[in-house]
């Protein structure tokens, strides 16, 4: 038996590429590092500086506005539980990291999604890249990220961005493609530019899908926090990683439960705020030229597109 041994040196090639990129584009990565680091610090400062009860009150009020009493009370209990198990600071770091990564991912993914919706060529070319980003095990991103950005919060953010990008792009593309063709045609028929059609017709009508994408980006970002902790990122991942190393079930459970609470609060908040279907504790005034949607009792069952308020720039 003389089986020829074939070994494609793909890994060596990637090594070579990363080495080259590291040396050649060091300046670029320094700048990126500065930006991501600064973004994280700014958001982290926002959440970690005020006393815990201020954050709790703000988030609970937001929950009340978005979904009503039950969710508000649930949020309060959940956040107090996080404080009670002494994971508050970690939770705030986690939220900051999630928001920083999700923000960058959304800023990248929405324009890319729009581009893909408009150009079939771009769509065909980018789709496999998205598949790659989404299915490549998230740990793998960390390796070059450490080389490029060093240990700390930035490689975690970068890996999170890459991992979380795909659903934002996909749902933006899907949303814009799903806008009623006739309405877009109407825009053209009245002589609107494609920019105006995008702004006034496609984006508003695709908003539910795009916001579902944003929600997914946030949730995927959150799911990366534990992994980000392995390269030195701050947050709830840290106690989880350390409890794994010390077989500390109790600490692991406390931190894990905190992640779950943060995830549920973030998910429900962004899902609701995204569709604009907020629960109103007080009847909205018809001020500022806004259209007074007349919600029938149980209006939440009305399709989102019909009850979403008029955010037209003309108003």
């Amino acid at each position: 038996m003389n089986v020829p041994v074939i070994r494609i040196p793909l890994g060596q090639w990637v090594d070579a590429i990363v080495d080259w990129v590291t040396s050649a584009l060091q300046g670029l990565f320094d700048v990126l590092s500065l930006i991501f680091g600064g973004l994280f610090n700014a958001i982290d400062w926002l959440f970690a500086t005020p006393p815990f009860w201020v954050v709790v009150v703000v988030v609970v009020l937001l929950g009340l506005y978005a979904r009503g009493w039950v969710f508000g009370i649930g949020t309060a209990i959940g956040l107090l539980l996080i404080y009670g198990v002494n994971q508050w600071d970690n939770a705030m770091h986690t939220i900051a990291l999630t928001i920083a990564a999700a923000l960058v991912a959304v800023i990248i993914s929405i324009p890319v999604g729009i581009w893909m919706a408009r150009s079939p060529g771009a769509s065909t070319a980018i789709r496999p890249v998205l598949d790659f980003f989404q299915t490549m095990p998230a740990f793998v991103y960390l390796i070059p990220a450490i080389i490029l950005f060093g240990i700390g919060v930035v490689p975690g953010i970068v890996a999170t961005i890459l991992f979380a990008l795909a659903p934002g792009v996909r749902l933006t593309e899907l949303g814009i493609r799903g806008v009623d063709k006739e309405v877009v045609e109407a825009g053209h028929a009245f002589g609107a530019t494609s920019g105006r059609i995008l702004r006034q017709i496609q984006l508003p009508l695709a908003r539910p899908a795009i916001m579902a994408g944003v929600n997914q980006v946030i949730m995927l970002s959150l799911s990366m926090v534990v992994i980000a902790a392995m390269v030195g990122g701050p947050g709830l991942g840290k106690p989880i990683v350390s409890s794994l190393q010390t077989i500390n079930v109790g600490l692991g459970f406390e931190a894990g439960l905190s992640v779950v609470i943060v995830a549920i609060v973030l998910d429900r908040l962004t899902a609701t705020l995204g569709t604009g279907r907020t629960h109103r504790l007080l009847p909205r005034r018809a001020d500022g030229g806004r259209v007074a949607v007349r919600p029938a009792p149980g209006a939440t069952s009305v399709p989102a597109a019909e009850t979403s308020e008029a955010h037209s720039p003309g108003r």
Binding site: E182, A186, A189, A192, L205, V291, A292, A305, S308, A310
Partner: protein, 438 residues
């Protein structure tokens, strides 16, 4: 009826002094690869089926002209290419071959900016499923065309509100489209197109998604608006009744080809082929055909000067009991009955004494549906007279029925003379002979 304001049947070719709003010449649209080759083969006579392997020929060699103020209806079943055709008119689809000119200016192959200007200034569109912006109020929807044009917020809202009032939506300005019924939504669509204040209105199956009753209401409202505004309208529909009701001229499409175009009555009475004939079978003729389309030539006419004997002879020749009396310029004066005339002949008295004005007159543009009541109330055929009072023809009851049943009514063998004679022919002949002998 708004029929009066619609232009009469127009000459088939353009006259220079009469500007053409929209002109389409040898227009082709082919969906598929190698469309240039496909068009070349179609021009050489290849049929739609032969080109099926290459793609779909949606529009094949379409040519027509639409004059200002005219409602031009393109009628065809789904898949006949009518929607493709209308989308080429404002450049939503690029024609594969052929020319489209709007007030003399070409539409195809012009820069995008210029095309947008044409769409803003020259033509607006009403869509089958309304295509309103669901997140905007009715007022802002109606003002959309003006907004795109760059009209200021205050002015465009005022103008849009005025148009909304005109279409009967006053008080709904702040509602969202989702809160309106289908008919009301399409009124918003219509208001949006009207507010844009373009010369040409493209209506793509605009009323097809509505309930029959609402549809009829919208059709009537469109004609009413049209009588005021005099827009040039290209209307697409698959409903022949709608086409006949709205259209000044109609083009019938089948498999991408315009198989016939002409006035509604021409298409109804003289279908170009079996396809069109089959199509028009189900049309509500009473609402399409006019008195002038079904009227018979007047046979029994006489003049006062000719006297009672001439009148009696005419009636005997046609075996009828009545004759229309006209003057030298064929203006209808009235009618005389055989028994009265016979008495006058025997008594040697003039015809004037028995002349009766008791005859129902109708205009040539009166719809058949409006003729039934007068036809029931009068024993005599209806007299079709023009504006000057000249007798153009008559509509006997038999003709009315024949017109509804699509029976050929204009053949010579079926000469219809009503009412039948009431005095036996021998008596009339004797009276005439007796008089002649005197």
């Amino acid at each position: 009826m708004p029929v009066d304001v619609r232009p009469a049947d127009l000459p088939p070719t353009g006259v220079d002094r009469d500007p053409i709003a929209l002109e389409v010449e040898h227009l082709y649209k082919f969906f598929g690869r190698r469309h240039k080759e496909a068009v070349r083969r179609m021009k050489d006579g290849a049929t739609r089926q032969e080109l099926q392997s290459l793609g779909t020929a949606a529009v094949i060699d379409a040519s027509f002209q639409v004059r200002p103020g005219e409602i031009f209806v393109v009628m065809g079943l789904s898949g006949s290419g009518k929607s493709t055709l209308i989308r080429m008119l404002n450049g939503l689809l690029e024609p594969t071959d052929g020319d489209i000119r709007v007030f003399g200016e070409p539409i195809s192959g012009i820069p995008a900016k210029q095309l947008r200007e044409v769409r803003q200034q020259r033509m607006s569109m009403v869509f089958q499923h309304f295509a309103l912006l669901p997140h905007r109020s009715v007022l802002d929807n109606a003002a959309y065309g003006l907004e795109v044009k760059g009209v200021g917020a205050r002015e465009r809202r005022e103008r849009a509100a005025a148009v909304l009032q005109r279409v009967g939506l006053a008080g709904w300005e702040d509602s969202l489209p989702g809160e309106l019924s289908g008919g009301m939504r399409q009124r918003v669509g219509l208001a949006r197109a009207l507010a844009a204040d373009t010369d040409i209105l493209l209506m793509d199956e605009a009323f097809s998604a509505l309930d029959p009753l609402i549809r009829r209401e919208m059709q009537e409202q469109l004609l009413e608006l049209q009588s005021e505004l005099g827009k040039t309208i290209v209307f697409i529909t698959h409903d022949l009744n709608e086409a006949m009701f709205l259209g000044d001229r109609i083009a019938v499409m089948r498999d991408g080809v315009i198989v016939q175009q002409g006035a509604p009555e021409d298409i109804l009475t003289d279908p170009a082929n079996d396809y069109v004939a089959q199509f028009v079978q189900d049309v509500d003729r009473a609402r399409v055909l006019t008195a002038s389309a079904v009227m018979e030539p007047v046979r029994a006419t006489t003049t006062l000067q000719a006297g009672p004997r001439a009148a009696l002879r005419v009636m005997r020749d046609y075996q009828t009991s009545a004759a229309f009396v006209v003057d030298a310029s064929r203006r209808l004066l009235g009618v005389v009955r055989d028994q009265d005339v016979l008495r006058q002949v025997r008594g040697g008295r003039p015809l004037e004494d028995v002349l009766s004005a008791d005859v129902a007159k109708v205009g040539p543009d009166a719809l058949i549906s409006d003729l039934f009541v007068p036809a029931v109330e009068n024993a005599l055929p209806l007299a079709v007279v023009d504006d000057a009072g000249r007798l153009l023809g008559v509509v006997p009851r038999v003709t009315l029925l024949a017109a509804l049943g699509n029976v050929p009514h204009d053949t010579a063998e079926l000469a219809i003379v009503e009412p039948p004679a009431t005095v036996p022919i021998d008596i009339v002949t004797d009276a005439l002979a007796e008089e002649a002998g005197r």
